[in-house]
Subunit: 227 residues, 2 copies
DNA sequence: CTAAAACCTGACCAATTGGTCAAAATTAAT
DNA sequence: ATTAATTTTGACCAATTGGTCAGGTTTTAG
């Protein structure tokens, strides 16, 4: 039952004991969430059918509705996993860390993320493009306050003379845009590098390019690989 | 009849004479294409219904099918307009132009584009996210050869000692990602800057930030507004 | 072992969807 | 003015969709 569950860990409801009360619920919910993420990423909200999700999860359609009620609820559950993931990524930016190192690490982690969980990125991108109708509060509350908190870190770096002043919102926007691009627009990038699928090396080069631009853009010394 | 047509010029079939043979065809096709771009951008391919497109165009649904046959054909027509637009943008990058100036101009033009035609950007983003199933040839032929051509321009700049070497594919990827982000993720950026809608000034600051990072990333002198 | 709780699912349904069509209305050409 | 070509559209259809439900099976608790 862990064909899918081991490949991509969806957090919460996975990797529990194989038996015991509720283990069926846990297993099937994880199965459905995984399938739903795939179908929502490939087809968009409206394009995803509960039948397709059920089929990919290897369960009858009625079972999907048994666990999640409506497609809307299921979509929000998928989104919740993704949003939680999104928020936990900025932890490495702290006041006393080295800006160049911290930013480089963050960018590289985001690129790894684009390679390993492109579907999550695509579901999120789809949601934003369509106006964040299921996510309004997340943006205005959680994400905004997180960015505000991290903005203070950047300001402290500037105050400590560690880097040049820069608008934090635009800095984060560029980082997110550039890194997530390699998940969301993978087909385009792959076509341009002349491969059907991008290699790990392609992703590394992408990360290096982004790190180079961001660090220099902040007046930071770009250490390795820059020559 | 030009309420929509004047606001956003869709190229081909607009701004013809008000009378004469075929003028109805021209007017209605433009009306439908405009409406279709809106609905496809907001709802995605599958989420867009021909009925919704027809309603927004102010025409009965059967009329939409009269002009475009199928939803698929209509979608491709919308996409064709956008792809043509995409290709025409890189003209200002030529061998004998100044790299800093040319790149800055290009980035600024792309950001203006994100502000003025966000719907086109969103339809395109949606198409890429879903795997470019209607656009495969464009990527592998048109876009790839264009990028190859422009890569030679960059190489010539490097050879002339005007800038540092950089992987062109990743450079373009970062530029496209960062600039289009302000159209595709407008709700997110707007939430972060604390506005419901971004202002012209927000877009200008975004462009400046991107220009600063890209130019410095290429070892170019970032002239104005950097300080 | 037994009863309750949890889980399963084929069959079904109302609503929506992309698309068709034939008859009517309008516009163009002679 | 007459004919031909184009345009319009309400009515219709088969297929798909999200969702329901009743009656079943399996799992769990005491």
């Amino acid at each position: 039952m862990s064909e899918t569950a081991t490949k991509e860990n969806l957090g919460k409801e996975v990797e529990k004991e194989e038996t015991g009360p509720g283990h069926i619920r846990l297993r099937n919910r994880a199965l459905i969430l995984q399938a739903a993420e795939e179908v929502f990423a490939e087809q968009g909200y409206r394009g995803a059918t509960t039948a397709a999700i059920a089929e990919r999860a290897g369960l009858p359609k009625a079972n999907v509705h048994y666990y999640f009620g409506t497609k809307e609820t299921l979509y929000r559950a998928v989104l919740d996993d993704i949003l939680a993931l999104w928020l936990g990524e900025l932890d490495r930016l702290t006041e006393d860390s080295d800006p160049a190192e911290a930013l480089a690490d963050y960018i590289k982690a985001k690129v790894v993320h684009s390679r390993e969980r492109p579907l999550a990125s695509r579901v999120y991108a789809n949601e934003m493009i369509r106006g964040a109708k299921h996510t309004g509060d997340f943006l205005k509350n959680d994400l905004k306050s997180l960015v505000k908190r991290k903005s203070r870190v950047l300001e402290s770096w500037v105050a400590q003379g560690k880097m040049e002043p820069i608008d934090p919102v635009h800095l984060f926007s560029v980082i997110w845009a550039a890194t997530q691009h390699y998940a969301d627009f993978e087909v385009q990038v792959a076509a341009l590098v002349g491969r059907r699928q991008m290699t790990a090396r392609d992703f590394d080069e992408a990360a290096d390019t982004i790190v180079r631009m961001v660090l220099r853009g902040c007046g930071l010394h770009y250490g390795k690989a820059a020559e």
